[in-house]
């Protein structure tokens, strides 16, 4: 039986989580020049809050909204309290701080909610067979959301005043200030949207993978791979890269070796970056020297 279609479907639905996370990473990077390594843990923390609300009898929809909101607000708080005080241009310091914050959040979530894995209900119940693979509606919803989010955010960044302001602030924050862009507001919005997307990704992943404090560690790893594959400055590239990583990962797992999935995927990424250092879909910057 030819299982290639089933493997491709499996890869696309797995890649949707990486695409959502990748979008979050890129929107923060493009607006504030910060690579946020804690973004996955913001999402996980949000889902834990949702889990706590569920166990207290609140409806799933309310808990889900809370998860996304908490992740976004954690992002805003981090930008305001941790990243902004560093001042502009401190890219490396901000990166290290988000790494530290990631470790702290994992530990804090463990202390507050426990390290015991918890079952989390699906937002969209049921399954459907597609090309020989039984796929949860939840995963299809994730893929659809990733595509919609990609389109909406691309539109927002390109055609709205706020989106253009966010890009301008990232490009040159002094010039942006001169033309009246409120950089603080732009940064807060970018961090909220980026981290809320991570909350959404975690929320959609948790029913499948069970809720643990390390829920987003492996997906974040792959999301970053997708971002570098597609291009750190490209919204569409990040999302397409996420989907591509999902497909490559599953192809490697099925046809190469399940124990060499990461090796195979990252070997391809190294090859791609060697040929196109800015990523597959990022604009190529050329300078005459």
């Amino acid at each position: 039986m030819n299982e290639l279609p089933a493997v491709l479907v499996s890869g696309v639905v797995s890649g949707a989580t990486y695409a959502l996370l990748g979008l979050g990473i890129v929107i923060i990077f493009r607006s504030t020049d910060v690579v946020n390594f804690a973004i996955g843990d913001f999402g996980t923390f949000g889902v834990y809050v949702a889990f706590a609300l569920l166990t207290r009898g609140l409806p799933l929809l309310i808990a889900a909204i809370a998860a996304v909101g908490v992740a976004g607000l954690l992002g805003v708080a981090t930008e305001r309290a941790v990243v902004r005080p560093l001042g502009p241009g401190k890219t490396f310091a901000a990166l290290v701080l988000t790494l530290a914050l990631s470790l702290i959040l994992v530990s804090l979530a463990g202390q507050l909610f426990g390290h015991q894995p918890e079952p989390f209900p699906a937002l969209v119940p049921g399954h459907v067979a597609i090309l020989g693979l039984v796929v949860a509606w939840q995963k299809i919803a994730t893929a659809a959301l990733a595509v919609v989010a990609m389109a909406v955010i691309a539109f927002f960044m390109r055609f709205t005043r706020l989106g253009v302001a966010m890009r301008a602030a990232a490009e040159d924050h002094y010039a942006a200030r001169v033309v009246g862009i409120n950089r603080g507001l732009v940064a807060a919005i970018a961090w909220f949207i980026g981290c809320a997307l991570a909350g959404l990704a975690a929320l959609l992943l948790a029913p499948d993978a069970t809720l643990t404090v390390t829920l987003m560690v492996a997906p974040l790893f792959r999301a970053f791979a997708g971002v570098f594959l597609g291009g750190l400055e490209s919204m569409i590239g990040a999302a397409v890269g996420g989907f591509a990583i999902g497909v490559l990962d599953d192809l490697a797992g099925r046809y190469v070796s399940a124990s060499f999935r990461d090796t195979f995927v990252f070997a391809i990424i190294v090859l791609v970056l060697f040929l196109r250092p800015a990523g597959l879909l990022a604009a190529q910057h050329r300078q005459r020297v």
């Binding site: 039986m1 299982e3 089933a6 493997v7 499996s10 797995s14 994992v106 530990s107 463990g110 426990g114 390290h115 015991q116 894995p117 079952p119 399954h127 693979l133 039984v134 949860a136 499948d208 993978a209 069970t210 643990t212 404090v213 390390t214 492996a218 990962d249 599953d250 797992g253 099925r254 070796s257 399940a258 124990s259 060499f260 999935r261 990461d262």
Partner: protein, 394 residues
């Protein structure tokens, strides 16, 4: 009346055994606490195992101390988080021995992680490692002077699983295992067992990257091999992921796994998808309190570790700690590595009340070799036959 008296006598005897019999004549006059140590994964993806195991050990030592400790001395069990990382395990060993003055490592977790600490603990610090939750055949053959264990070897568990699957008349058996050597060696033991017992049986090896969360490609791969039975040598989280994905894809096979996965977490997280799972257990079922030893364990868990279910993993660590303390309790003078080794080597047919009798000697540092088969039916682990060993006929 007579039955009541007999029960009371049995409980009293068990209590005296458990607490080592605090005879003043045996006391060395030292009233300071006895420091023991352990490392476990309390954070990270394997924390589900470590947390349950810590709860079982902690319940035992609280129970012990509430009943007078060992010769009137309290026993402190210091547990360090190793996050299932060999380097962190070595760091934990240094802290436990250098800073907390642990005289023995008791009930620690992990084969590869514990082995990483051998050089420092056994050779350099000369501290005994007793009753690890883990271990392989190289640990005990030839015996290492300061290393003792009571957990039936994973390879032997795998051989029993292989025989069980053959007894169930399966002819195409896939062994799905994590890729690190510790898991691959267990899988190989099963593969060899099947080939030697039934050469016509088809055995398929499916290695999976450790800590895989997306099991869709793995299940597709297994489905393509058309097995009629699958033996899983994976962590609990991965067993759950496999079971859920296999159920979703409609893959119906006989399913087997080994003792570390006989836990309440599999039931809680996989739900109905785990029904029918055949597994193994080191101890008597924790939900059957007709045995006095199990009743003590369950009562202690409810009293001291109420937030953690009394399941197989916590019960095993209870047993690991209880056997170690039973040996230490036999020491009448100074408690040091030599007296601990001597006490362990003189232990013969010790009954912990929750697992088969334990016997050590100078040449035999692995005190147990049998395992109890269990099956998950209707959300409950039920016994299948009695204790069996790798060389038993099922």
């Amino acid at each position: 009346m007579r039955r009541t008296l007999l029960s009371a006598a049995a409980v009293a005897l068990l209590f005296v055994t458990a607490c080592g019999g605090q005879s003043p004549a045996q006391s060395s006059g030292d009233t300071s606490p006895i420091q023991l140590g352990a490392w476990m994964p309390l954070t990270g993806s394997i924390a589900v195992h470590g947390l349950a195991q810590r709860a079982g050990g902690a319940a035992y030592f609280k129970f012990l101390n509430d009943h007078g400790g060992v010769h009137g001395r309290k026993v402190v069990w210091n547990v360090e988080d190793n996050a299932y990382d060999p380097q962190k395990t070595v760091a934990a060993a240094h802290k436990l021995i250098d800073q907390e003055n642990s005289i023995a490592i008791v009930g620690a977790n992990g084969t590869a992680n514990t082995a990483a600490a051998f050089s420092y603990v056994l050779d350099q610090a000369q501290v005994p490692i007793i009753d690890t939750y883990g271990g392989d055949s190289t640990w005990y053959s030839p015996p290492k002077p300061l290393l003792f264990g009571i957990q039936t070897l994973y390879e032997d568990q795998m051989r029993v699983l292989a025989k069980w699957a053959l007894k169930d008349s399966y002819k195409n058996i896939a062994i799905v295992h994590s890729d690190p050597a510790a898991f691959a060696n267990i899988a190989k033991a099963g593969s060899d067992q099947i080939k030697s017992t039934s050469p016509s049986t088809n055995v398929m090896d499916v290695a999976v990257k450790f800590n895989t969360t997306d099991y869709a490609p793995v299940v597709l791969q297994v489905r393509n091999l058309h097995p009629d039975a699958v033996i899983m040598i994976l962590s609990t989280a991965e067993v759950v992921a496999y079971l859920k994905q296999a159920a979703q894809q409609g893959l119906k096979t006989g399913i087997y796994t080994y003792a570390p996965n006989s836990s309440a977490d599999v039931i809680r997280l996989a739900g109905a998808d785990a029904d029918g799972l055949k597994s193994e257990a080191f101890t008597l079922p924790p939900d059957d309190t007709s045995a006095a030893g199990v009743k003590d364990f369950v009562n202690a868990m409810q009293k001291y570790e109420a937030g953690t279910p009394a399941d197989y993993e916590s019960e095993m660590t209870w047993a690991l700690c209880k056997v170690a303390v039973a040996a230490i309790s036999k020491i009448s003078g100074k408690i040091d590595k030599d007296s601990i080794v001597k006490a362990l080597q003189s232990m013969s047919n010790y009954d912990s009340g929750v697992m088969p009798p334990i016997t050590f000697s100078a040449s035999q540092h692995l005190g147990a070799s049998k395992i109890q088969r269990v099956q998950l039916t209707g959300g409950k682990w039920t016994l299948v036959g009695s204790y069996v060993g790798a060389d038993s006929n099922l």
